[in-house]
Structures are given as structure tokens and as C-alpha cells.
Symmetry: C2
């Protein structure tokens, strides 16, 4: 089942709505223009993971979009309501969505959605994933000079991300790593790229440069904190495709699927390390309790 809770000034803890019935206006700019933002987080035993990181990124996305959204406490109360309304579950997916609302109304539409996770994430964590490198079309410097491209915002305009995933699946792959037109590794359509290298006993975890126009990953942020405490060296790109092939392990990391080990890129197998995946997943989970 899906629980919906709308943020509503008349309902302090959010207004619970029937998810089996239409709840959105057909003229909402969220649907007519993909004009809105979102976050997806995992709740474990009723507690959202990385809540403050997700709320901070939601606020940053809103600012990039000139969207005035409800303050963090209103989200926290609505999330609590959604989790209380859902039958107890070990894991739930909690989505926060805000649109620019109905054209002309000047009021955003904001809601929380809680539902059970699909099975594919857990499976891909176990079996690993095959990815394709696909050109995102942008060069790695455009994000800084062209803020209207919204590269640092998590917007509802995900048609390209979904098309890239469909393209990969048609070729028999599971997921995508986007590259920039100048040959840098960027991110997955719904995930952050992480690579590990172990040289002379020194373990290094590297993620692409934020300035290259990737979304700041909340999971990468949580993991870097605890990995540093555990003795890992940390690196921020730039990364190029050869870095992926030369790494000791590569993952796509995200809030629901967690660390998904990449086992091939463009059909070429790369090393997978169950040991490193287990170590880093534990550190990620530890870093996600905030």
C-alpha cells in the first residue's frame, strides 16, 4: 500500500489522503511542466535515514528552482504521520515531493509518500549490476556557468534519466553511468558513482567532482564521514572512464538500493569485492543514522 500525506497549513501534522483516489489537479505544473523537486529516502523500523541531509538537499533544490517550500519541521511532522499511518515494516521508501502547484495559484503542492520498496534493489545489491557509459551531453564545466540548467537540483524532470535507463535495459544492462561530453565520469540516473582503490594497504574511496554538475549524493556524504573515521582516504575526482576500469571496485550508491556493486561496464567485466562492499555498506548504514 501507499500512504499519502499532504503538507497543508490547515493540518499541523499533514493531511492524510487516500492514495487509491486521484489527489492531484490535472493543471498542476508538476505534471504539465515537470516543475518541482523531490527526495527519496529509506526508513528503517520507522525511522528515516539521513533525514537532515535529505531535507537540506530538498531546500537547496528549492532554492535553485526559486520555489518556496514548507520548512523542515512541517516535513518532519508529515513524514512522522506517513510512517505512523503505514503498517509497520522493516524498510519503507519515503518520498518527498513539491511542485510549483496549479498554474496561477502561486501555492506549491507538497506531499510525502510512504510505500514498500521493490525487490530489485535488494537483488542488485547481491548480484551486482551491469552498466553502460552514456553521454549526458553536458561538459563538466557547464553547471557553474549555466545555473538555469539546474544541474545541482533534484527536479521532477527526470524523463532523460528514465530514457537512459530504458536504453540500457534494451541493451541488456541494468543501469547507466553518465559521462560528460569532455570525457568525465558523472553519476548514475538515480545514484552516485563511488570507486575504491587499495594500494600498499592504503584504501581510497573516490567520487566524481561535485563541480562537474552531479547531484550531491546524501549516501556518498554519509559514507565519506564514517569511512574517514575508519581510516579510508577520500578523493573527489575528476574521474575518467579508465579510472573505473582500473579500480578495485565500483559502486552505484543510493538511498534505497545502497551500495550496488558494478560487475561490468560496457560489457567488460571489472573486479567486484564482496569484502569491500560489506565493509562500506556497514559504514554507510552507520553514517546514515543521523
Amino acid at each position: 500500500m501507499t500512504v499519502l500525506v499532504f503538507l497543508d497549513p490547515d493540518h499541523e501534522n499533514g493531511r492524510v489522503a487516500d492514495a487509491s483516489k486521484p489527489q492531484l489537479m490535472a493543471t498542476d505544473q508538476g505534471v504539465t511542466r515537470g516543475d518541482g523537486i523531490f527526495e527519496t529516502m529509506l526508513a528503517v523500523d520507522g525511522t528515516p535515514r539521513k533525514l537532515s541531509a535529505h531535507l537540506a538537499r530538498l531546500a537547496a533544490s528549492a532554492e535553485a528552482m526559486d520555489l518556496v517550500i514548507p520548512p523542515a519541521p512541517a516535513w518532519e511532522r508529515a513524514i512522522a504521520t506517513a510512517l505512523a499511518e503505514h503498517p509497520p515494516a522493516t524498510e519503507l521508501v519515503v518520498r518527498l515531493l513539491v511542485t510549483r502547484g496549479v498554474e496561477g495559484a502561486g501555492t506549491p503542492t507538497a506531499w510525502v509518500q510512504a510505500s514498500a520498496p521493490g525487490t530489485s534493489g535488494r537483488q542488485q545489491r547481491e548480484t551486482g549490476i551491469e552498466v553502460l557509459l552514456l553521454d549526458r551531453g553536458y561538459d563538466s564545466s557547464v553547471a557553474e556557468r549555466a545555473p538555469w540548467l539546474l544541474l545541482g537540483a533534484k527536479t521532477l524532470s527526470y524523463a532523460v534519466n528514465m530514457a537512459a535507463l530504458r536504453y540500457a535495459k534494451k541493451q541488456g544492462a541494468d543501469d547507466v553511468i553518465f559521462t560528460s561530453s569532455d570525457g568525465r565520469v558523472l553519476e548514475g540516473p538515480t545514484s552516485t558513482v563511488l570507486i575504491a582503490t587499495v594500494r600498499d594497504g592504503v584504501k581510497t574511496l573516490t567520487t566524481p567532482l561535485l563541480e562537474s554538475g552531479v547531484l550531491p549524493g546524501t549516501s556518498q556524504g554519509a559514507l565519506f564521514k564514517t569511512a574517514a573515521e575508519a581510516g579510508w582516504h577520500l578523493g573527489y575526482g575528476p574521474l575518467e572512464p579508465h579510472d573505473l576500469f582500473e579500480a578495485d571496485a565500483v559502486w552505484l550508491v543510493s538511498s534505497i538500493r545502497l551500495m550496488a556493486p558494478v560487475r561490468s561496464i560496457d560489457g567488460k567485466e571489472i573486479p567486484v569485492s564482496r569484502e569491500l562492499t560489506e565493509e562500506l555498506t556497514a559504514l554507510l548504514v552507520k553514517g546514515s543514522r543521523d
Copy 2:
């Protein structure tokens, strides 16, 4: 008022729905992922203009998105229902929208929306518009090599287009002409670029190369047909910004606003020709009766 008509196998002529009430599921991928396509057309005295061109482009967008949508006759009947349900009006805006539907359901959500046009289009036709050149981030060859970027599809993921318009308005401009990262003129966020040059009595109308990743404009297509019959020479780019400054007139053309004369680019005035605007608007209207 807004009239909504959903395409529905149980209602041959479409199902009329109350636009003042929520009609969409909150889990529709149109809103959660901007995953869908649309068209916007003008109906004059109850008759849609360029209907077959809009339906053909909708079908092309659907194909680019791997989206199976209702066939043209179903759209035609739903449009007729929407226009019959709306109080008579000289001009109405008719929108066609299709989303990938609720996640997992496998059925697209498709509807027609009819409403009165805003006043700004008519005003901008009269007064002309000030535009900014903004980098779209893509080079002009990416559309052909990266179909997952959906550059030829009119998707619901319009957040960047809307952000570019907001950016322009904050700088005091009215609209935007996107350029490619390799310096070509592309298109407006919701319009096609057209330039006219008159040399030694030869009148030439030029639009950017389709292959550079712009959306094929239905208005440009209609106008080119009748303009050729009226003796105009036609050209397809590539165009660069200097071509805009050297032209005898520049327009952003679209289905509702029609020919909007550009009177300045990046704050620099360019020639405006009331005579050419009137001549080409008449040819556009003539070409739009299909």
C-alpha cells in the same frame, strides 16, 4: 474555465472530468518523473489549427519515449468533446498530455485540456520581446549520437525551460534563445527561432537546422509551406548569434503566441519589421488551416 477530457477505452468520445477537482493519481509518473509528453495548439472558432502536425509530433515524441499512446482518432474525438464542452470562444488553447501512468500499472494517462489563452501572448505579438541568449549546454551534434537525451521529443520534463525563462525575467528580459555549447542558435524554451533577410528584393526565411537537436516546430512547418508558395526562399541553418544581429527581422514563433518579433538580444536592439511580421503572420495563419 478549464475543460478536461480523459481518453478512456470505456468512453468513445473521451470522459469529461471536473477540472476543479483532483483528477490525477499522486503516483502518476507524469508528476513523479516528468515522464510523459505534450502538445499545445490553438483552436480558432472551435477548430484546432495544425491538428495533424500536432498529432504527428505527439506520435513522434511517444516513439522517442517508448510510450504507447492512443491513436490519432481517439485524440480527435476527445479534442472535439473538449471544444464542445467549453463555452464558445474565438481562441482556445488545447493541450494534449500523456504520461507513463501510475508506476507498475502499464497504462498511460492521456487527456485533453481546453482553456482560454492568457493575455501576454497577444501583447508580446504587438510590442515585441526582449530575449537573452542562454547556453543550453549541449553541442549541436549530440542529438544524433545520444537518443536517450530525447532532444527531438516534447516531454513533460520542462523544468530547465521554465528555469531559463525565470532567469531571463529576473534580468528584465521576456524570453530566451538557447545556444549550443559550440555556438549555434537552437530554439526558444517554448518556441522556434525564425529570421528573415531581404537582399536585392529576395526574401529569405531561415530556421536552425533540425539536426542540431531542436524540436521540429509545427508553426515553422506550416509557415514554410505557405511562404514558399508566396515566393520566399527558405533556409535551414546552421545559424550563429551573428546571424540574428545581421537579420532584417527575428521572431520566436509558436502555436499560441504566433510570430513574436524580437526587438532586442542581450540588451542590444535589432531591427523589427511590422510589415514582415504582418505578412508572415498572415502566411502562418493560412498554413495552419489543415
